[in-house]
């Protein structure tokens, strides 16, 4: 079948779905939706529809990114706008169906916003709300809008037109288009994509490989997972285009085993591509042939490093090797190889669909286009976002993210995962692009953005990251293997209140050695969390070392919990919930925590009724409490 015929058929199917004359119900059923209970909501909605004999289409879609409001259900009545509802539980779903579809009540109280041209009474336009207004959805354009398991949905929205165009061009022309777009690698380092492609294209060799790095190992990042779950074909289309440019006949997708749904969707998408002639021999009737294989990662952070990743595909331990030779010359099985991140591939497809100049209109002078981030941590609205480069951190955190959770104060934002750093409030008005993040001592990374409030201890956070990199160090080179371990030992000492005054300088020296002496990116960037927290939050280190105090009240060994005798009402809730029976007291008796027995889990603080607020957490302070339970003062 010719591509125009495929497109016609796909468009017809899309129109039949969107304008069927039946109500449409879309439910976010990506991993995060499922975690929030989307499957139960789907079942409840289907039950209600069949009980009331309502004919409607129910479709699982990818993540629209508003994870804080999951499970999200969208309802569109024939001819009307689509309305998104947040926090829909299996309990309220039947009522929502009844109200919307039978009683004609759009339930503005549950609605997040409407999508479409026709305003709905009392409901804001979704893309005018503060969470979506600053966002520009290029890569994520289909996520939440198409059925990710339906190839025709992708094609009807411009899918594979980029590949069709690419196959009509010469590889040089495509590289020129990529150059115009200004696309830089989305895996973190920000190397110009066109150049990387060009190196591999020009490398001599009969057999070449391309790889998609979907080993999203940064803790706190899930952009690639969401994209693979919500719109797998966009990534795969980019890969076929890249393979055509570089003359590769085989491609690998290296995806983490922790992403079962993404793996499932990839396998299905590849099968669909083969059936429709987008993969295999003579792709779309051309003389270009290419095939794709999915490789499941086995859990090693270092495999995000390109040379380690290739070792892993070869079935070996994922240990990096020195470069040069660069993979473009000698990569997988010793052949010229090109590796790009999931988001880079998806962008490549989009650039071919819409043109390089169109793409370059977005973003800043040196960083073109958009970037997806997983905005998580202590923000009100956690989720997956896509913003143009050059946006201010403040807009991301306060407008899109809705500010800090529970009205607390912003302390820092962490970008770049274990290789990145923590930026304090003074950077809130800096633009988000490759250069300014690097200048601040952090990196763009693949897009993890973790917001921290006053309750996060920066020393503990540095310890957390070092614990991670130390465990994930492959052990090949000494600066990384031994250095990170020593640095972790110092950080552990400091967070336990056993730090020595010379520790801080010692750590600085170690950090420089690790940075300069390590073989691969994992080691070279491992000290970044320590260096940035030392640079911006040195006072917190000093409080731990000199005063044996944790200002954020986070380091377990440096905090104590007390029950205030003038506030405790002797309700016994904390005593009943204490997992180690460390709280003594009885009805109408002031409770007392047995300090040596306390494991500092904080449960008593969680469960003490807000109106009493009798439990306090302190560090370096002494709180006067009775040694034994005493009666609650009369008259209270």
């Amino acid at each position: 079948m010719r591509f125009t015929d495929i497109q016609k058929k796909a468009t017809a199917e899309w129109q039949a779905w969107t304008g069927s004359g039946k109500p449409r119900i879309l439910i976010g059923t990506a991993t995060c939706g499922k975690a929030a209970g989307a499957d139960a909501v789907v079942a409840a909605i289907k039950d209600e529809l069949s009980r009331r004999n309502i004919e409607a289409s129910v479709t699982g879609v990818g993540c629209i990114g508003l994870c804080y409001a999951e499970p999200i259900v969208d309802i569109q009545k024939p001819g009307g706008s689509r309305v998104s509802y947040g926090n829909v539980t299996a309990k309220i779903a039947p009522q929502l169906i009844e109200d919307c579809l039978i009683k004609n009540d759009a339930r503005a109280d549950l609605a997040l916003g409407y999508l479409g041209d026709r305003p709905v009474n009392g409901i804001p336009k979704f893309f005018d709300t503060s969470v979506l207004k600053p966002q520009v959805r290029l890569v994520l354009r289909n996520c939440g809008f198409i059925d990710p398991e339906n190839l025709n949905h992708y094609i009807a929205n411009g899918g594979y037109s980029g590949l069709a165009k690419a196959l009509s061009l010469k590889p040089d022309e495509i590289i020129a288009e990529m150059k115009k777009s200004g696309l830089r690698g989305r895996g973190g380092a920000g190397f110009p994509t066109w150049q990387k492609w060009d190196f591999c294209r020009k490398a001599p060799g009969d057999q070449k490989y391309i790889i998609c790095n979907a080993d999203e190992g940064d803790p706190g990042a899930f952009m690639n997972r969401s994209l693979l779950e919500g719109d797998p074909h966009s990534v795969l289309e980019g890969m076929v285009i890249g393979a055509y440019v570089m003359g590769a006949s085989k491609g690998y997708i290296y995806c983490r085993a922790e992403y079962p749904l993404a793996l499932e969707r990839l396998a299905l998408a590849i099968k669909q591509m083969r059936e429709s002639g987008f993969l295999g021999d003579n792709i779309m009737g051309s003389d270009f042939s290419f095939d794709l294989i999915v490789k499941e990662g086995a859990g090693a952070f270092v495999c995000g490093e390109e040379t380690a990743l290739m070792q892993s595909i070869e079935g070996k331990r994922g240990m990096p090797r020195p470069r040069p030779p660069f993979p473009a010359v000698s990569g997988l099985w010793g052949k010229p190889t090109n590796i790009n991140n999931v988001e880079s591939w998806a962008n490549a497809a989009l650039i071919l669909q819409k043109g390089g100049e169109w793409y370059a209109r977005y973003g800043s002078a040196t960083s073109k286009g958009t970037k997806t981030f997983s905005l998580v941590g202590k923000v009100e609205r956690t989720g997956l976002i896509e913003v143009p480069f050059g946006i201010k951190l403040r807009e991301v955190i306060y407008d899109v993210g809705g500010g800090i959770l529970n009205g607390k104060n912003f302390k820092a934002v962490q970008t770049g995962g274990p290789s990145g750093g923590c930026l304090p409030a003074t950077f809130l008005d800096q633009p988000v692009d490759y250069e300014s993040l690097t200048a601040a001592g952090s990196i763009m990374g693949s897009g993890g953005m973790i917001v921290m409030d006053e309750d996060t201890c920066m020393v503990d956070l540095a310890r957390y990251f070092l614990n991670f990199t130390q465990a994930e160090s492959c052990g090949k080179c000494v600066p990384c293997r031994v250095g990170t371990r020593q640095m972790l030992a110092i950080l552990e000492r400091i967070t336990r209140g056993k730090g020595k005054p010379e520790d801080i300088d010692q750590m600085q020296r170690l950090a420089n050695t690790i940075k300069n002496g390590s073989l691969c990116g994992l080691g070279q960037t491992a000290p970044n969390p320590v260096l940035t927290t030392l640079r911006y939050f040195r006072n917190e280190y000093e409080a731990h070392v000199n005063e044996k105090r944790c200002p954020a009240l986070a380091c377990k060994e440096l905090i104590q919990f007390y029950i205030l005798p003038d506030k405790c009402q002797g309700c016994m809730i904390c005593a009943r919930n204490c997992p180690v029976d460390a709280i003594r007291g009885g009805k109408r008796l002031v409770h007392v925590i047995d300090q040596p027995k306390c494991v500092k889990c904080g449960t008593c603080l969680d469960v003490c009724p807000e109106k009493f607020a009798a439990v306090v957490k302190v560090s370096g302070e002494k709180v006067e409490v009775p040694p034994e339970p005493i009666p609650v003062k009369a008259g209270k």
């Binding site: 086995a298 859990g299 941590g377 449960t603």
Partner: protein, 149 residues
């Protein structure tokens, strides 16, 4: 190696670079990698037994002891960490009397700490078998685990 496993692994005999996939298939079938199977795996992949052990011990996914009836994974990714993941792990270790990496004495749970599930927006997260539980507290995690026998 039992006949069923031999059949599962048949497509990989002598295939270049298949060692990790073969180990994954074995673990998928048996729940862990029994050491006595390493010589057979080595033969299938045309590598030394040393190489098999080297690769198996390098990757976090592989385990060498039989798992419990339910697998409990507590996420300690950055988002979970800043939202109290360590408290959840401490709580689970206390409640089911097992330290991370181990299996409880009654064989009910094996507990692991995991670097990130990618469900960061729902942090802190606990995964039991294939069910994902978000927005956990130590008390909620205890309730969740009580549902599994």
């Amino acid at each position: 190696m039992d006949a069923e496993l031999v059949k599962i692994l048949a497509p990989y005999v002598g295939q270049k670079g298949a060692l990790i996939t073969v180990l994954q298939k074995v673990q998928e079938k048996l729940g862990y990698l029994p050491r006595e199977l390493f010589p057979d795996v080595a033969k299938i992949c045309r590598v030394s037994v040393n190489e098999v052990f080297g690769v198996a011990s390098f990757y976090a996914q592989f385990r060498f002891t039989a798992p419990g009836r339910h697998s409990v994974k507590v996420c300690l990714g950055t988002a979970c960490h800043v939202r109290g993941g360590q408290r959840i792990l401490d709580g689970v270790e206390r409640d089911v009397r097992v330290s991370s990496g181990g299996t409880s004495k009654d064989g009910r749970f094996s507990l692991e700490r995991v670097a990130c599930f990618g469900s960061c927006a729902l942090a802190p997260v606990v995964v039991v078998d294939k069910d994902v539980y978000g927005r956990m507290t130590p008390a909620k995690a205890k309730d969740v685990l009580s549902k599994y026998e």
